[in-house]
């Protein structure tokens, strides 16, 4: 569904991503794990068109999207839950979701999708008129996910959804991710919390300083000595 070949990204003279290659197949949850500064967020930003790569190719559903504008990429079916949630703090919960549906032309179906989001996140429905900046961290993360779902993505990019959340909430968020995936949305998940990420993902790639150093099924990676030492702390 998504295939990335020989991707090189620079920030000025800094070489942030070196020849990144990976694939995401339809229906999967794939996770990119790695430490701070490994290039996880850069990878997601490059896919969704927020950063232009120097070289390489990104294909989505067979079509090259390497140099397509970010707003067009959303229309093609890639949703993005950005790092640090980035909700619209001065807008209400409902207005945030409406922004998520901004590109939708089928307003009637969008209406059903609001209900879908509310049934998935009942807490958002309770706070529908509340200003989003006053939500708790977990609720803001739910809103960020709900907002991304409003564009009806085929592929959902999620950037550290566990960031800054209490362990119990992290569990809740991850079970929601699984739920979304069961509903037919492919998920590319970037995480520092390798333990949780590997527990729900089908496959995983390990990024280190801009390079993919390991890949395999989640089971293999969990079993690998290297990973256990470096990322799982066991």
């Amino acid at each position: 569904m998504l295939s990335i070949k020989g991707l090189n990204v620079y920030y000025g003279t800094i070489h942030a991503l070196h020849d990144i290659e990976f694939e995401v197949n339809e229906g999967e949850i794939v996770t990119l794990i790695g430490a701070n500064g490994a290039g996880k967020t850069t990878t997601l930003h490059t896919i969704s068109g927020l950063i232009q790569p120097k070289s390489g190719e990104i294909k989505f559903m067979g079509k090259p999207i390497t140099h397509v504008a970010a707003n067009k990429i959303v229309e093609m079916g890639i949703g993005h839950v950005p790092e640090g949630r980035r909700i619209f703090a001065n807008m209400t919960v409902m207005e945030n979701l409406e922004m998520g549906a901004y590109i939708r032309k089928d307003k009637a179906q969008a209406r059903d999708d609001y209900e879908m989001v509310f049934s998935r996140f009942p807490r958002l429905k309770e706070r529908i008129k509340q200003v989003a900046g006053t939500l708790s961290g977990g609720e803001q993360q739910m809103l960020a996910i709900g907002r991304a779902l409003m564009s009806r993505p085929k592929l959902l990019l999620m950037d550290e959804p566990s960031m800054g959340l209490a362990p119990l909430l992290v569990k809740e968020i991850f079970s929601i991710i699984q739920d979304i995936n069961r509903g037919g949305t492919t998920v590319l998940l970037v995480e520092q919390n390798a333990n949780m990420a590997l527990s729900i993902a089908n496959r995983a790639y390990v990024l280190e300083t801009g390079k993919i150093v390991l890949s395999g099924s989640s089971k293999e990676l969990v079993a690998s000595e290297e990973i256990r030492k470096a990322y799982l702390g066991k």
Binding site: S48, G49, L50, A69, A70, N71, V74, E75, G79, H80, P82, R86, I87, F88, A89, N90, M91, T92, M94, E95, E98, M99, G100, A101, Y102, I103, K107, A110, R111, Y114, E115, I128, K129, R147, A148, S151
Partner: protein, 343 residues
């Protein structure tokens, strides 16, 4: 939703006509003397220009310090069109706006790369370039001496009538500007613009074409500032480049920040207040700017979000409360992109 919109439109139109008739009549019979009439007219020009800046800075979130530059372009274009090419006044004002809008597109492009303080400095530079340009285009603009003898809005034998006509022109443009900005903000493109202010990356990931809306906002803003400039030139009767330097640009920023970034009513109130306070402080002579500066510091300490924050006062909302017309109970899903409550 539709009913609400019509109700809002009728109320706004009705209120602006009533206010107009009262103000114009009071001026005509002399209750508002000529001096205060002039100040009211000047407030109206500030409303147009300050709202244009609020669109960029308050709603789109791009700090711009060169608004007087757009005003200058509009003012000179309008004056030259009237004086050298004998274009009718209304058309000349619109041409002034259009030429300023072209500059808006040009200055809009750097905003795609520059943010915050960097953009502020770039727009500041733009304002200065325009000022220097106006000084050096002597044959067209009259250079440093300026343009004199711009014809007034009307030249009847009756001075009072002339003043009222002057006021009417400005008043109509101010109302149109308010209507344009408030309709824009409550529309779907308006939401896109506000989301850029809230979070650019998030807005982009929602599928909003940031480049397009930023340039759109700069262009519309420059157009309105140009129209304001055109009115200002005719109001003053003469133009010179120092009228549009750094300080006038800052004054516009001050009005917008005082009224509240992202508040239309705040800008309107602050425009009028700013015009009058500047005049009242004249009795303090040299201390005027000191007192004004102190007042600004106090307002920023006690009302850091400006007088109205990003809230709006509305007559229709007030009337609705008064008559308990609560036919707008819940903002339901079907109301997306509709008018906000209390608007």
């Amino acid at each position: 939703m539709k009913k609400n919109r019509i109700f809002n439109a009728v109320v706004i139109l009705g209120a602006s006509v009533v206010v107009f008739v009262i103000l114009a009549a009071l001026q005509y019979i002399g209750v508002i003397d000529e001096y205060n009439g002039q100040l009211l007219t000047l407030s109206g020009i500030y409303i147009v220009v300050a709202l244009s800046l609020n669109l960029i800075t308050g709603f789109t979130g791009q700090l711009a310090l060169g608004q007087a530059g757009f005003m200058s372009v509009g003012a000179y274009t309008t004056a030259i069109a009237i004086m050298k090419f004998h274009v009718p006044m209304l058309l000349a004002i619109l041409i002034g706006g259009l030429v300023a809008a072209v500059f808006g597109i040009i200055i809009g492009f750097p905003t795609l790369r520059l943010r915050g303080d960097y953009l502020a400095i770039a727009t500041l530079g733009f304002g200065e370039i325009i000022r220097v340009l106006m000084i050096n285009l002597g044959s067209l603009t009259g250079g440093a001496a300026g343009l004199k003898g711009i014809p007034a809005f009307s030249e009847t034998e009756n001075f009072v009538l002339d003043a009222v006509i002057k006021f009417s022109w400005v008043y109509v443009f101010a109302v149109i500007t308010i209507v344009i900005i408030s309709n824009l903000i409550n529309s779907s493109p308006g939401r896109a613009i506000i989301s850029i202010r809230e979070d650019e990356i998030a807005a982009n990931s929602m599928g909003i074409n940031i480049a397009y809306y930023k340039i759109f906002s700069f262009t519309l803003s420059a157009f309105l500032a140009g129209v304001g400039g055109g009115l200002y030139g005719i109001y003053m009767g003469y133009l010179n480049p120092t009228m549009f330097g750094f300080m006038p640009s800052m004054n516009i920023v001050v009005i917008v920040v005082l009224g509240g970034l992202g508040s239309i009513t705040g800008t309107v109130v602050a425009s009028v207040a700013f015009t009058y306070i500047q005049e009242w402080l004249r009795v303090f002579k040299d201390l005027r700017l000191v007192i004004f500066g102190l007042a600004l510091i106090l307002v920023m300490i006690f009302w850091p979000k400006g007088l109205l924050g990003n809230k709006e006062l509305s007559i229709s909302g007030f009337l609705r409360k008064l008559f308990k017309r609560e036919n707008n109970p819940e903002r339901t899903v079907s109301q997306q992109n509709g008018s906000r409550e209390g608007k």
